[in-house]
Amino acid sequence: MSRYLRVVLAIYRKDAQLEARTRETFTAMAVFAIAVALIFNFAFQVNPRNVALVGPGIAWAAFTFTGVIGINRAFIFEKDRGTLEGLLLAPAGREAVYGGKLLGTLTLMLIVEALMVPVFLVFYDIALLSWWFVGTAVLATVGFAAVGTVFAAIAVHTRAREVLLPLLFLPIVMPVVVAAVSSTASALAGEGWSGVARWFSLMVAFDVVFLVVSSLAFEFVVEE
């Protein structure tokens, strides 16, 4: 177990150090999230009357697409210089490599989502921030990262690595997106636990199932 944690944390620290130095993935994700929000603003003609209806959807569309970019980047830079192999030489099970990469992507996505909260406040006058929203964001993002990390590791080895991840990822996370949009809407409406309960349990189920299955499956993804 400690061997597992050691490798997970080593990969996480290394990714954090790299990202702190280059800020490549973070910048791409943040700018992309804002761009998506802008496009939806004009696509839906957002105004004070419809913002409560379309706001949560816009937020989660932005977070979902941004997540695709972050998850893909996490593996593309490892693949391009062959360093993915260096991770596979680590003296631990492959699930430790999965855990380390997942944790890095998860952190980046959560940071971008947190930064988008004031953006939504300024542009749409929609105050997303509440404890229920924080819970929603964590549960949904863990789900994204759990399946996304496995799919990105598959996609990066193929010829179509840029397009394959969204093709696999978007239909699979459909229930998470539905749950996140609905519980964000109910958090905005101030419905409390009764409003989010069913969605939270759905997301917890998704997260647990796919964290376990993906950890086990990762070995089969990366072997040659």
């Binding site: 061997r3 290394k14 210089r81 030489l89 631990a92 099970g93």
Partner: protein, 248 residues
């Protein structure tokens, strides 16, 4: 410096045990029924023309490639449940340096030291950097280093955790004269310290100068596995030339 302290003490059994190894990539068979046994404390040179399967064999021993048939055992451990322990015993230098461009050599080594739980990492990193003659560039970003310098750092990376089995895939690529001399000293130092080195090369003279044993791959088959005393440059050259002839 006493290089014998570089490596772990020899363990019972064999360092590398390959039995009936076959590896298929789509429509090509990269390795056919390879069996190879390497004891502790020796350096083995792996010769063979391009495409003979040298890299694939090293990758299979490094547990990066899964055999389609046969087994690979490193330090007595086979892949599967205890692959992690086998990987802890392995040092591997491939064609790519496995370094992060935006980190310095020191930071790269610090990361690999964490992966391998190297004790007293700071001192160990300074030592391996000195061993490959790269102390002066320890804090430049890898991006700014030449290929040869990156190769040296890659070798330092593989030595970092005192591997019991060191695998080097054409390590001389990109190295200058001084680097080649360093490489020779490192290979001998590791083998004389009781660990095992398996390195692939195209240079017959270097193979005979450094190795205790010579193995030769051709078309995915192991066609020669002999002690240095039993192998001579002329016959090795003839075996390699045969292949060139056959392909023509």
């Amino acid at each position: 410096m006493d290089r014998r302290q570089e490596t772990r003490p020899a363990q019972p059994g064999l360092a590398i045990e390959v039995a009936g190894l076959t590896k298929i990539f789509g429509r090509t068979t990269a390795l056919r029924n390879i069996s190879l046994q390497v004891p502790w404390g020796v350096a083995v040179a792996l010769l063979g023309p391009n495409g003979a399967g040298k890299s694939t064999l090293l990758r299979a021993i490094a547990m990066l490639a899964r055999p389609d048939e046969g087994t690979v055992r490193v330090a007595g451990v086979t892949r599967g449940h205890d692959a992690a322990r086998a990987r802890a015993a392995l040092g591997y230098v491939g064609h790519q340096p496995l370094l992060y461009d935006d980190l310095t050599p020191e930071e790269n080594l610090r990361f690999y030291a964490r992966l391998h739980d190297v004790r007293d990492a700071g001192a160990r990193i300074r030592q391996v950097l000195a061993d490959v003659g790269m102390s002066h560039r320890a804090t430049s970003r890898v991006r700014t280093l030449s290929n040869g310098m990156q190769k040296r750092i890659a070798i330092a990376r593989a030595l970092l955790h005192r591997p019991a089995v060191l695998l080097l895939d054409e390590p001389e690529t990109g190295l200058d004269q001084e680097g080649l001399a360093l490489l020779g000293r490192i290979v001998r130092g590791v083998a004389d310290g009781g660990a095992t080195v398996l390195f692939s090369t195209h240079d017959i003279e270097r193979a005979l100068a450094l190795a205790d044993r010579v193995a030769l791959l051709r078309g995915g088959r192991l066609v020669l596995d002999a002690s240095r005393a039993a192998a001579d440059a002329a016959s090795l050259r003839a075996l390699l030339a045969d292949e060139a002839e056959a392909r023509r």
